[in-house]
């Protein structure tokens, strides 16, 4: 039975929840607001909240001065490419673990997870040297491969937990009707698992977009995604608050929106099914 709550108490909770929520969100809100100010207004004391002259000038400047969209495009290619590649490798793997489990399935799953526990800095040196020797430093393809590999365990795990919920009899029926393995996966399993696959994709794009160890260490100028581009503001340029804010807002906006859509799946994906 739902507990009835007095309106008074509900109002008090509402007040506190909104205060806390706005406080946590404030740095993001402030960044977005500042991106529409002039540089002088951005550092004004006392701070100006809403009654300033809204301008898009910073966005134009950021693009003109540092070719923002090339870095944006790099981020899109890296997160999209690594997600797509990851799906192609992970869907068959998850299929076989969910529908044809063997004694070793659990061990394989746990082992895949354990690769995720490897601290990236532990393999920084060899990765750097391998990349240098293969001419992969600062290339999109090199980073797509690395991002695919670091997120592959999460993709396999999430798909596995979603596939597990699909009754195997349906696949069997398709097989009885003479479907090949390829069409069984492509035309029977995949359409049924679309919601699960979609949330896997969403989470993976978010993780790849925000990845900031390999992208910072293995890129320079050409293939640098937004994480590395923003890091270049850490020196004096960062003191131009309005431009920093404009660049930041553009870097986080797409992911923020995606993230809000995927908040439920996030728990499942990031805890490997340990909390549902």
């Amino acid at each position: 039975m739902a507990r009835s709550v007095s309106t008074n108490r509900k109002l008090v909770t509402t007040f506190f929840a909104w205060v806390v929520g706005l406080a946590i969100f404030f740095p993001i809100l402030w960044t977005i607001l500042t991106s529409f100010k002039t540089e002088a207004q951005a550092i004004a004391d006392p701070p100006i909240f809403f009654n300033f002259h809204w301008t898009l000038e910073n966005y134009v400047t950021v693009q003109e001065r540092s070719n923002y969209f090339r870095h944006f495009w790099n981020s899109v290619v890296l997160s999209g490419g690594s997600t797509l590649l990851g799906l192609i490798i992970a869907i068959p793997a998850a299929w076989s673990m969910a529908f044809v489990p063997s004694r070793r399935t659990k061990d394989i799953l746990m082992w895949m997870l354990s690769t995720k526990m490897l601290p990236p800095v532990g393999v920084l040196v060899p990765m750097y040297l391998i990349f240098r020797n293969l001419g992969l430093l600062d290339t999109q393809i090199g980073l797509v491969i690395v991002l695919t590999l670091i997120n592959l365990p999460i993709i396999v795990w999430m798909l596995y937990t979603y596939f597990k919920e699909i009754p195997g009899e349906i696949l069997e029926a398709a097989r009885m009707d003479g479907a090949t393995l390829r069409s069984e996966i492509l035309y029977v399993l995949t359409p049924m698992a679309i919601p699960g696959i979609a949330s896997t994709v969403l989470l993976n794009i978010i993780l790849a977009w925000n990845e900031a160890f390999w992208t910072l260490n293995l890129t320079a100028a050409k293939a640098a995604p937004l994480t590395a581009f923003i890091a270049s503001y850490s020196s004096p340029e960062g003191l131009f608050y309005a431009k920093l804010s404009a660049a930041s807002t553009m870097a986080i906006a797409p992911i923020l929106i995606m993230g809000w859509f995927s908040q439920k799946q996030l728990v499942r994906g990031l805890t490997f099914g340990a909390v549902k």
């Binding site: 500042t34 006392p46 526990m117 601290p119 978010i206 920093l244 804010s245």
Partner: protein
Amino acid sequence: MATKHSRASARIMISPAVILLLGWMLIPLSMTLYFSFLRYNLLMPGMEEFTGLTNYKYFLTDPAFFAALTNTILLVCGVLLVTVIGGVFLALLLDQPFFGQGIVRILVIAPFFVMPTVSALVWKNMFMNPVNGLFAHLFKFFELEPFDFLAQAPLASIIGIVSWQWLPFATLILLTAFQSLDQEQLEASEMDGAPWIKRFWFIMLPHLSRAITVVILIQTIFLLSVFAEILVTTNGGPGTASTNLTYLIYMQSLLQFDVGGGSAGGVVAIILANIVAIFLMRMIGKNLDA
């Protein structure tokens, strides 16, 4: 039922993923291990020679290692303390009925989606800057001395920034756990006259213990590798005041080109992370049977 045929194809289907991950793990890992026994500096090519455990000796006796280890532990524990305690209370608050639940939840979860370089730079410049930052304005308003956060309390400031990023994660998971709490049990204890604090301590907290453990373990894995936040705010300084293990190894390998020393550090970092990982794997493994 699985047929012989499907077993064979299942093995083929899983092999690309297994082979790729095996390669990803074994090749760099064995290289790290191999380099860690060499005197190998990129500035002196062709001078590589086997030196046994010398790199480890230098790395482990370097005062910077001790500082970095302490900082790593402080950083991990500090962030865990803030996010777990904050997360429990936030989840408790957000679990109550109130107006605009959906919107508030969106506001609270947002910092998790901000890329590390952005959140570090925004906090560094727009909030913690001793001249133009919002905190400086606030201090001036109360007629206090301006405080240079990242110079005077670098580690604490980084803990603050990282906590802001991870608080949503803890909150979201704990909130999910709260929602599976048996409401009737709570009501029964309420009718029996148990005060709120007792209901919290004896019913809610035990129910959360599993979720809290998961939060601690997963965050620890990520927090051991905090990198971008340090790179763009303090560069590990002043001195080694905010250098963690990840950053120390990065400096040694990519800034000083000391492949051997960096690799020895890498092996040490892997061993430390594994200690945490073993506990996490046990928890998740148990869940697989259920």
